[in-house]
Symmetry: C2
């Protein structure tokens, strides 16, 4: 089984797959009479005309390591964001949008404990991976009629193992 390493999550490396949601550098502008800093439009929520955007909470349990990627999924009708409420890194597995996906296209990223992510519509992605602690996420995605979740199961020979070292 092939093993893929974790790359550090940055907006640049993640650009083919989606947005990184993080307040870094100077804020876009101040609001509330100067009492708050707004980092504006870090991600855009997309959905088809039949759907709508919703806000959910997803509480993920700590998972064992190493992790084997056996399945990925994609949401063709809308974007999907996960923003952690806990300051703990998590692991994101993605492959570029397309009708088919090969396991050699998979990339794995580790967040810095502040970052959230927003998958673009159609981006193949693994299950939410929280190897370091139980974590709570704000999820912003698309609701409505139609099939917005397609899964791709890898044959055993194509599955990949993620090398997830302990946090420093």
């Amino acid at each position: 089984m092939k093993m893929i390493p974790l790359q550090r999550l940055t907006p640049e490396v993640f650009a083919p797959y989606g947005d990184v949601i993080e307040a870094t550098g100077e804020p876009s502008y101040q609001i509330n009479n100067g009492n708050a800093d707004r980092y504006h439009a870090l991600a855009t929520v997309t959905h088809d005309a039949q759907g709508s955007a919703i806000i959910s909470i997803v509480n993920s349990r700590k998972q064992p390591t190493p992790h084997t990627v056996t399945v990925v999924e994609r949401h063709p009708l809308g974007s999907q964001a996960f923003i952690p409420r806990d300051k703990t890194p998590f692991v994101i597995v993605v492959a570029e949008a397309g009708e088919r996906v090969r396991s050699d296209q998979l990339r794995a990223f580790i967040s810095n404990g502040e970052q959230g992510i927003n998958y673009h519509a159609g981006t193949w992605h693994g299950l939410l991976l929280t190897p370091f602690a139980d974590m709570s996420f704000i999820c912003v995605d698309r609701d409505g009629a139609g099939n917005n979740c397609e899964e791709w199961h890898f044959d055993e020979v194509d599955q990949v193992l993620l090398d997830i070292p302990p946090l420093d």
Copy 2:
């Protein structure tokens, strides 16, 4: 100057103004092969056809108490959600949607440290109030052309003072 007390934030008392975003009770369903609990569609994001929904981060500085409400605002073209990443209560000041607003319509709520809120389009609301600590929020609201922010300034005689006791 009239003083108004803080009420405990619940979905029932907040229903005329918007949604309370909180994971309570049984989850809606499990995802990720049973490894995560999803509390589904706690709020719906609304926007006009010209606009889109975006995700921003708002970092609010700790404010002095007591607080005088001198101005409220409303967003006629879309909903606006603030979900804290810090487990600290914050204060929400609202009045029901309408062309005009009187200060005797104002209500003030205190969250329990887990709750976020989603103002319905048009709900009059005060500035984000963080009297207990610096706080970081995920904000989900509407972006696009058009005037989506109207302010209402109260005459001095109509301003209200919020009684904000220290946390227990």
